[in-house]
Structure formats: C-alpha cells, structure tokens
Amino acid sequence: MRNTFIETLIKTHSSHKDFFMLSGDAGLGLFEGLQKQYPNKFKNMGIAEQNAIGFAAGMGLVGFKVYVYNIIPFVLYRCYEQVRNDICYQNIPVVLIGVGSGVTYAPAGMTHYSVEDLALARTLPNLKIISPIDPIEARLAAEYSFTSDSPTYIRLAKRGEPNIHEREKFDITKPQLIKDGKEVAIVFHGSIADDVMKAAEILKSKNIHPKLISIPMLQPLDFGSLCKMTDDVKHVVVVEEHFENSGLGNILMQACMATTVAWKLHVMGIPYGFIHAVHSITGLRKRFGLSAEHIVDNVMRLEKK
C-alpha cells in the first residue's frame, strides 16, 4: 500500500509545479526516483517533527501541495498541536502520509504502534481521514489527496498487502461493498483486511456469507451510504487494528445513537491499554482476538442468533 501510494503520487503528480514531498528522515529508498528526477521537489526535514509540520503549512500557504511522510507517531502524535493549529485550523491542504498503522511494526514496541491515531485525528475539523485496505484504495487515495482542498491524513500499513478490490475505479469517499452477503456485515478499514478476507474464505467453506464492506474514508464518514448497504443485515461487525474504544467502531456507535438502524453493532479492535507483550503482527492479532479465526468465530456466533 505504502509503495503504491508513493509510486502513484510520483508517477501521476510529481510533474505538477506545486507538488512537494517532505520526509521526516524516513522512507529511505522510497524517494530516490523523485529526488533524481526532481531534486527540487523533495526535502528531508530531519528528525524534527514540529518544524516539519509548521514548515509544510508555510509552504502550503504559498501554494505548494505538500506531502509529509513519516511513521504515524511522528506525523501526528509528536506534532499534534502543529497539525491542529498550523494545518487544520488554517485549513491548508497539506497531506500527512502516516505509515505503520495499527501494529504494523510489531514487535517494535508500543512507541511505534499506532492504535489511537484515529482518536486523535478525529478531533481535528477540516481533516479528511483515509485508511485504505489495499493498493487499489491506496492509489485512489493518492489521486484524491492531490486534488483535495482540505488537509488529509492517510493511514497506511507498510507494504506487501494484496489487492482486494476487483474494480480499479470507485469513489474513495464512500463505503465500498466488496462482497454481498446476508445476516452479518463485516465493516473494516486498513491493514486488518488480510485477516478479514481470510475469515471470509473460511466462512465461505462453511456456507456462511457475510457482507464485506470497506470504509476507506473515515472522516467525514458517509454513514447514509453505509446504512443503505446494511439495511438487510442483523449484525454489523467492525474489525479494525485500532483501540476498540475510539476508532471506526466508536464513530459508528455515535452515529447509531442519533438514528435508528436495523442492526446490532459489534466492535472487534485492540483492547484499550498499552501493549507490553512482544509478538509479531500475527501474534498480537491472535492475542487481542483479531485473527481470522476470531472473526470467523464471531460471525458464526452472530449468524446463529
């Protein structure tokens, strides 16, 4: 996803006079082509995240379309107030590319996990939040971000994620029906997609067919479209690699309180707490009840209800 996102940007938009890429001393090798072709469109900002964001805002004020690349804690947490005041409050269409969503970097440790980034990003008016599930969504997110007049935060895993969508083109701002089904809808975003797809395969072999819906754009969330897509199911299961109390599940909980939906909401996420256990991504997902097997169990239990 990360590579697709960056490659799309460079291939499609780097020739534009206003395109500019900043990196916080991260992504070695990723920008070599860009630097070679357009040495004046890339700047390594060093290990100084507050300056990187303020600087990006300043460049944006002068008319550049600025992308800031870093791992999520250093594009959103360390410099939260710069993102709030300099970019969002001033409504400058800077794009924050955050890599290492969820526990992508496991077992690097809690400092490098991003399991509460949506909670932070959601506090920021004007900010669009996109969490792609596959390289196709990442490509569409790259294209969307270039033309967007608003600040945008792109939440990416790292690399190697397979394509899930069969269609190449669709509206990234809307929930996407990936596979039709009945009784239960699995709603998801981001890198957990591989376990969701694996779970769907296992369920298929048991003749259980949940509806699969991805939500690439989490803010603003097109809840109306989601409701239409889910008007024939009894249960909606949100699966996300994020704290269960403050991600998409929580967004839907709030939305559901303000309206009437026909389904019951269930959230599968990472339990709210600092992670001290040392595991791989797979190990952490298993530990936190987020593996394909856990998703299968949950859907089978709900399907019988």
């Binding site: 500019f20 004046n40 900002m45 060093g46 100084a48 507050q50 300056n51 964001i53 303020g54 600087f55 990006a56 805002a57 300043g58 460049m59 944006g60 004020l61 002068v62 008319g63 550049f64 107030e81 710069q82 005041n85 300099d86 409050y89 001033q90």
Partner: protein, 265 residues
C-alpha cells in the same frame, strides 16, 4: 508623520483596545510597537497587495500591536479595532488568519509562527517569487523546542528573503528568562545554529531600520531587539504584572496623559 509619532499613536490605539476589551497582554503589545512601526512604515512592501511582503507575529499574544498597525496602515477598519476581544467582534485575542486581511498566519500558541514563516520563505525561494518574510519572535517564545528545530534546519537554505526579529523584553509570564532557564547567551546560541545576528535597541528606530536593511550575509538574519515590556507608559515599563493586568479607565487616562506628553524626536 515620523515613525516615532506613528509608534506613539499605535500605543494609544493599544491602550484604548486594552481598556475597551479588558484583556491582558498590554505589556507584550507595547514592547514590540517600535519594531512594528518601523516595519509597517519603512520596510514592508505592501502597495501591491498580491505581491506584498509577509509579516508574521509569532508571539501572537501581542495581537493588539498587529491589529493597531494594520489599522494605522488602513488595512483594517475602526469597527475591527473597536470590537477587539468583544462578544460578537471581529478580532480574537490571538491571531486567526481568517479574521481580517493582513493577519497572514494564525498564531497564539508559541513556537508556531516562526516555523510557518520559514516554510513560506523557503516556498517563495522555490517559486522564485520576490517576497520577503518578516517574523517577530518573543524571547520567552524561543524557549520552545520547535524554534530550535527550525533554526537548525533553516540555516543552510539560503533564505535571503527572511528576517527574524526577537522582541527581547526579558520579561515573560513568570519572570526573567535567564532566571527560568539557561537562556543566555542568546547571541551565541543563534550564531552556533548558523544565523547571522544583529543586536539593536528595539526602541531606536534608526538602529532598527539599519538592521532590517542589512545585506544578506549568506546566513539567515535574526535581529535581537532589546526592548522593554510595556514601553512608553512609565508605570507599565518592565513590570511583570502588565503581562496580565487590565487597563481600567483610570489607568487609561494616566497612560494617555503620558503618551500625549511624550516628546518625540
């Protein structure tokens, strides 16, 4: 009108605003008045608005000084000044770039405007647009880590279109900078970070103008302007309380009396 007269008038506008709004930070605004008077009346190229020079008040708590200068230049109107900090008014206590023309950058939280200004100066260089960026920075503000991130990063960018002025009044929210942290030597710190430093009396207009016009030396320029908090109103000068105190009607009268009697050069 000479800039000293203009500065005196700015002080009166500020006292009036502070009195009407019953807001704090009058001392902070008064300390940078002379810097703004010289900038707005001698230095900034503002006649072609679309290609104007950029002024950023990074120490956003001194917003009254900027509003007064914009009013004096005819960029904003009396209705803006008269409603400063008031319910339903146009101008907030700290800077919002969507409020009125001339507020280039939203600033209030310290250690932000400086870095935004660096990005703007760099962007103008990249686009080969001849616009100069001037930033007024507080001394207390320069305790923020972001300032030193930006100072270190920007030293080698060839920013000959950037001028930073530190309003060094040596009196922040809780006392003197050097009593709070290892603040001095300020000059050596900036030089060590790769900047060209000029020290001036921040109330001496001739010194300010010469420093502001000084040629680019290959390093970005910071002018350390030694100032007095509350400058121009004797009982406010160098008094910590005027970071916070309100200007009552009685105080306003006393201040106006002094400002009217000020012998201007």
């Amino acid at each position: 009108m000479k800039t000293m007269d203009q500065a005196n008038e700015l002080r009166k506008i500020i006292i009036e605003m502070a009195n009407k709004s019953q807001s704090a930070h009058v001392g902070s605004a008064l300390s940078c008045v002379d810097i703004l008077a010289v900038l707005y009346h001698k230095i900034l190229r503002l006649s072609n608005w679309d290609e104007r020079d950029i002024f950023i008040l990074s120490k956003g708590q001194a917003a009254m000084a900027l509003y007064a200068a914009l009013y004096q230049k005819g960029i904003i109107e009396k209705k803006h000044i008269d409603s400063y900090y008031l319910d339903g008014g146009f101008l907030p206590g700290h800077l919002d770039r969507f409020s009125v023309p001339g507020v280039e950058v939203s600033a209030g939280s310290l250690g932000h405007g400086f870095n935004i200004g660096l990005g703007m100066a760099y962007a103008y260089k990249q686009k080969k647009i001849d616009r100069h960026v001037y930033i007024v920075l507080g001394d207390g503000e320069s305790q923020e880590g972001s300032i030193w991130e930006g100072a270190m990063f920007s030293a080698d960018l060839g920013l000959d279109n950037l001028t930073v002025i530190m309003d060094y009044n040596n009196l922040q929210g809780y006392g003197r900078a050097k009593e709070i942290c290892h603040f001095e030597p300020v000059r050596d710190k900036w030089e060590a970070f790769g900047w060209s430093v000029i020290e001036v009396d921040g109330h001496d207009h001739a010194q300010l103008e010469i420093a502001l016009r000084a040629e680019y030396s290959g390093k970005p320029k910071i002018i350390i302007a030694k100032t007095v908090k509350g400058k121009g109103v004797s009982f406010m000068e160098d008094q910590l309380v005027w970071h916070y105190y309100m200007v009552t009607d009685e105080i306003k009268e006393k201040a106006f009396l002094e400002l009217s009697e000020t012998v201007l050069s």
